[in-house]
Amino acid sequence: MTNQESQSVKVVFVTRDETLQPEAPLPPVMVPTSLKRLGLSEIVNQLLDTETPVPLDFLIVKATAGDGGASILDEESASSSSVLLRPGASLESFLADNGLSSEVSLSIEYIRSVLPPSFLASF
């Protein structure tokens, strides 16, 4: 038997940054909940097929049941309900802190990291 796969959560990655905009909307991804900022960054960079990796930060939009999260970038609803994934925090801890199970699908906005790369590397 191969090693037990870890738990995953369905994530839709979106952005408002024109320079990071994909050609077509990114597909939903089943992401291991153990991942932190760096892991998510690697996934998005791979999806975007970037030449040199762009360091990213993540804003998780708090999903509610019955809301597929498709319209999360509507101006009114955007920033108010999204939370920055803290350095060192995994998706698992985000879910636990917010009383969510991995049954929800998360909409995550990616932004260029505002922190210097050397500092980020320590997470």
């Binding site: 796969e5 369905k10 939903p28 089943m30 996934i43 199970s101």
Partner: protein
């Protein structure tokens, strides 16, 4: 015993009268489709009318050559050496419909609706067939029988079972579902007769532990329990913009040097169920379901 457990009040579940009304709506929306599915199932599940020469009889029409030598060797005591035309006996079958009660199903109302329509459609087609038994199971964190094989499935049962779903469970434990169902199916088999057992799983298709599941599915198949997975394509049903076929799975594969490398593959590429169909509209269900069943039973026929 299940009934007692189900009396517990679940806030998110509907009232019984409300669920009866819903069930009626689902049933009438699939009435024509059920007739179509019933006809197709009849062709697949019922034995062919063609009779075969077979058997070991004391008198008959044609000699069974395999019996001649033992006949002589036994000083003509083993004298059942004749074959007759026999009609195949009617096949007994049991079908279990298992429906995903987890929270992810609630992401779009279309998904829940499609799930109930599927139960209505399949149960109606089977009651029209009139020769099998039907059970219904719900699963999420746990797997729980909501309608046992022993009970006749009626309109009343339909209303009752709708009320037992909440689509609020915090896990989708398909592994537990398959394990429990195999146990239930095995208990049913004790009768000994040739029994065809089929499980139809209705779910949004998002589940964990594909590798473990794949082994369980293989085990079920060895026990001649067929598993068909009906994937309700919730994303496509809701928005039309994306589909379960687009979903990727992020995975870490360990290299020879011990390094873990990120690999993105299509979620469905590792889907552990060999026989699955993707449904976006209830109208598609009769034809996709019967074609996958036909494929399975032709493989079973080759095996035995």
């Amino acid at each position: 015993e299940e009934d007692i457990e189900d009396l517990s009040i679940d806030e998110s579940a509907m009232s019984l009268s409300e669920s009866r009304d819903k069930w009626k709506t689902y049933q009438s929306s699939v009435a024509d489709l059920a007739t179509t599915l019933c006809e197709q199932l009849r062709l697949i599940l019922e034995p062919t009318l063609a009779t075969k020469m077979r058997g070991d009889f004391k008198t008959g029409k044609r000699l069974n050559m395999k019996r001649i030598i033992p006949y002589i060797a036994s000083s003509f005591k083993k004298d059942k050496i004749w074959m007759r035309r026999t009609k195949p006996s009617k096949r007994q079958y049991q079908i279990m419909i298992s429906v995903d009660d987890s929270k992810s199903m609630n992401e779009s109302p279309q998904c829940v609706e499609l799930a109930f329509q599927s139960i209505a459609l399949i149960s109606k087609a089977l009651t029209q067939l009139e020769s099998g038994q039907l059970a219904v199971m719900k699963f999420g964190q746990d797997a729980q029988l909501v309608h046992p094989f022993e009970k006749t499935f009626s309109d009343e049962s339909g209303g009752e079972l709708v009320s037992k779903f909440s689509f609020a469970q915090d896990q989708t434990n398909v592994q537990k579902l398959v394990q429990n169902s195999i146990d239930i199916f095995q208990q049913q088999k004790l009768g000994g007769a040739e029994l065809w057992q089929l499980q139809i799983i209705i779910s949004d298709g998002i589940c964990e532990n594909h590798e473990v599941l794949r082994q369980l599915v293989r085990h079920a198949r060895e026990l001649k329990i067929m598993l068909v997975f009906v994937v309700i394509d919730a994303l496509a049903a809701a928005s039309g913009s994306s589909s379960i076929t687009d979903i990727k799975q992020a995975k870490y594969i360990s290299q020879d040097d011990g390094q873990m490398v990120l690999k993105m593959e299509k979620y469905l590429d590792t889907f552990p169920f060999e026989f699955y169909v993707i449904v976006r509209d209830i109208k598609e269900l009769p034809s996709v379901l019967s074609s996958v069943l036909r494929q399975f039973y032709s493989e079973v026929a080759e095996m035995s």
